[in-house]
Symmetry: C2
Subunit: 513 residues, 2 copies
């Protein structure tokens, strides 16, 4: 066996059995090794699809998938979605093939400083140069990925470490999770003492119904508010699930949300700050008197800490509010009827990858009491995450995934559609086409940039020429329809949920703002 085989065996022994791959020459031994491995490779036509898919896999399962990337350019192409994964604290194991050790000094055309590109992901990094080190380094990479906190791990595999022979050890090394940084008794006591009517719990990260219920009990026991970060990695929602008050994206409004909060307890969330800076708007969202405590660090599961806190407070059970799902909308397609259509047709167990941007403003409200579902958001702000993350979520779960995309964001990683078709993934894509970078219409007003002519205006316009998104999907093997009414959107959604494999629904609608 060679180093690549040892790598595959170590991945497999540690349960890392999915690899989103876009290989090249330096990865050929890894590819050949797949024939004797239970690691399943999913081909992606662009590296940003592979890394986004690994992020989606991690968000749904909490476990790492691998990616297979080709030298510096492969990691570069995958970097933006790894940035989102970093912010989601998703465990990912990147395998980046590189030149043979003795070739690296020759400055061949593909030579580059892969470590520098990886370093900006603030994760785990190592370069393995000898086949005898591959298994141990792979186990270390997996451990680096799972943390906690979850991180992006990057293992650069020199080609000779991949093709040189190595003996199989008696057992493949196991990656051990570091002991989670559980809060000490003092922190529990301190947080319990600090909670009161002018306090709030801010939860974030991967939030399931049980965790949210515990957080709600804690808050109810002391009359504190339960809040959620603007962009959680994944949150369970819908009928029977506690809903936390989401921090509003617009700093101008978020500052008001926090105005009366004198104590903020962070539970897997960072201190809330503005997404961008804006002239004359503070970047910090908390008032100056607000004390900030941390119960659980970002990327660390919060359930057990919240359970201990609930015990400490002898927190009573709570009843989850009930309400109605919007009726099936009729007539014109707008941000409003779009949101209602998603809510009215939603099947239980759906996973939503939301990159609807400005067109999605009404979604959270509309789906509040829909059947139980999970929602993923754009954690790191790097556009082009939705379709790739949907690929990974579908591979991970066997559940139907609904990817809500905008025309602008879809065009960053459209190649994900091909992998959906190839793997016959149960993904429904709704592509919201308003023909603009509409988010920038909003943002340029917020930063006070005044447009006064065609040269600037044309940078917001995606409709010259018009993108035929349905045709773009069909060209990659995904059946597609275009809908022009709310009724037709509801029908198309239900049709897609009723059968296996991917569907694409193009929705033409006016900008929401």
């Amino acid at each position: 066996m060679n180093g690549a085989d040892a790598l595959l065996a170590t991945l497999s022994a540690n349960g890392v059995t999915i690899c989103f791959a876009n290989p090249g020459t330096s990865e050929m031994h890894f590819v050949a090794g797949l024939d004797q491995s239970d690691v399943r490779a999913v081909l992606c036509l662009f590296e940003g699809v592979a890394t986004g898919a690994a992020d989606g896999y991690a968000r749904v399962t909490g476990q790492p998938a691998a990616t297979l990337l080709h030298l510096g350019p492969g990691l570069g192409n995958g970097w933006a979605n790894l940035h989102n994964a970093r912010r989601a604290h998703s465990p990912i194991v990147n395998i980046v093939g590189d030149h043979a050790t003795y070739h690296a000094a020759l400055d061949a055309p593909l030579q580059s400083d892969i470590g520098a590109v990886a370093s900006a992901l603030n994760g785990w990094f190592r370069r393995v140069e000898r086949s005898v080190d591959v298994a141990a380094d792979a186990a270390a990479a997996i451990a680096g990925a799972i943390g906690p906190p979850g991180r992006v791990a990057t293992l650069v595999l020199a080609a000779d470490a991949s093709w040189d022979e190595v003996s199989a050890p008696p057992a493949w090394p196991r990656a051990r999770a570091s002991a989670p940084a559980a809060p000490d008794a003092e922190t529990i006591t301190r947080v319990a003492g600090a909670l009161g009517p002018d306090a709030a719990l801010l939860v974030g990260g991967r939030l399931d119904a049980d965790t949210l219920a515990l957080a709600a009990r804690v808050c109810r026991a002391r009359g504190a508010r339960l809040m959620m970060e603007t962009f959680p990695a994944l949150v369970e929602r819908g009928a029977g699930v506690v809903e936390a008050e989401r921090v509003i994206y617009l700093s101008e409004f978020a500052i008001h949300q926090f105005a009366s909060v004198r104590t903020l307890v962070l539970v897997g969330a960072s201190e809330p700050v503005g997404f961008f800076a804006y002239p004359h708007v503070p970047s910090r969202l908390l008032n100056e008197e607000c004390e900030v405590l941390q119960l659980v660090a970002p990327g660390v599961a919060a359930t057990s800490a919240l359970a201990r806190l609930a015990d400490e407070l002898d927190a009573p059970d709570i009843e989850v509010s009930v309400g109605d799902v919007p009726a099936r909308p009729r007539g014109e397609l707008s941000a409003r009827t779009f949101a209602d259509a998603v809510a009215a047709t939603m099947p239980e167990g759906l996973i939503v990858a939301d990159e609807s941007n400005t067109s999605g403003v009404h979604l959270f409200e509309a789906t509040r009491f829909a059947p139980r579902h999970r929602w993923m958001t754009l954690t790191g702000g790097a556009i082009g995450y939705g379709l790739p993350v949907a690929v990974g979520a579908a591979v991970a779960s066997g559940s139907r995934v609904l990817a809500l995309e905008s025309d602008g964001s879809l065009m960053y990683t459209p190649q994900a559609l091909w992998t959906m078709a190839r793997e016959n993934l149960d993904v429904t894509v709704v592509a919201l086409a308003n023909g603009r970078y509409a988010i920038l219409d909003l943002e340029r007003q917020r930063v006070g940039a005044v447009l006064a002519g065609a040269p600037s205006e044309q940078l917001f316009d995606l409709d010259r020429p018009r993108l035929d998104l349905a045709a773009l999907a069909r060209a990659q093997g995904v059946p597609a329809v275009t809908v022009t009414s709310a009724e037709a959107l509801c029908d198309a959604l239900e049709d897609s949920y009723a059968r296996r494999g991917p569907s694409f629904i193009e929705v033409r609608l006016a900008p929401a703002f």
Copy 2:
């Protein structure tokens, strides 16, 4: 005026009047400033298109274009084509918008270490934090880009440096080219003395007909061989132009090419090494006795140095060989008839962006005596360069550009098609669809990886589902045809050359190997 206006004024004063842009919130003041500027922004739907276009612009003109990118993810998405530009020594000025200075410490979702990502481009980098510094830093960035050698310069512009007010200076600062590292008299004499029948000149970079003619005269004067690197940034070719012997991509053969070379003079080229390492094949292509001299460093224009050398050698004029253009091919489409069709229909002045990979093996030979044209190659090995570079070449030149793409490589940056349609660029795209990553079929044999089953085999297969490339082009506004015979390909090429704007020709053909 604000810092963004000062930046635009400095770009303009230095002749940098094209900006390939994919802006976000932090770039809105730059966008607004376009209305009072003669800098023309060309919208790209993905950053890899913007950076590749800037590379194409630089290869054709020798002058820098700007790009406008959005924080770390924007630079990440553009990184792979910047890597190719780095290897082409293309001058490029990246403007990367970033958070306001006071916002950077808050670790907002889009915060990342942009400098680390940029550092792997081995170019010029600076972060500008005050509006009063913008003009001087922009001039320094332009100077950093033009060198020589040409480089990728990255100027990170903090949002407050962009929006804060600044006064216009009496004159905008000018970027000065560093004095080119002209060879001293001793080097000229040494090279002249070293040239002989067992010597070769290896030229690279941007090679026009005059430079090649000078190099050929020098070689003829001493009976030396004239060779060219495998992947020059741009080389003038065709009737009346000297052709240098191209170093073969396959190391196994390139080693034979150099077997009798005892002295190699580098003229804007690096020492030739294998593109990848292969077991049992040397990575260095030169024999151990070969002495290497450098006349001109990579990325520095060689014309004047070669003229001095020709004078020193009193080198006689030469006659350029003449030959025939292949006849219009008929019948089945293959790598052979494809190459003949390109040659037989080629108009004078064409610029070719070649990413045809395995399907392009016969192109150089077939076009040897075609009308005079310029040829660009994949300098850095980062796939997905062809369509973006074609965009930039067309914006730069007003000449017809022929982008030769493969199905695999096209799918890395398909968004370039939309910019071709939007700007009505005179680009003809020929998309060679063999339904495979055929280059990997070749490469995996060369590295000795043995495939033995479906799990590995499926990573080479692009035909499940079949990509409908013509539909992909039409979906983005580019008229497209699919051809199934050599005659039809010739007709489609001639049709596209006869009218303005982009055309897309899908060619289905069998793998060449």
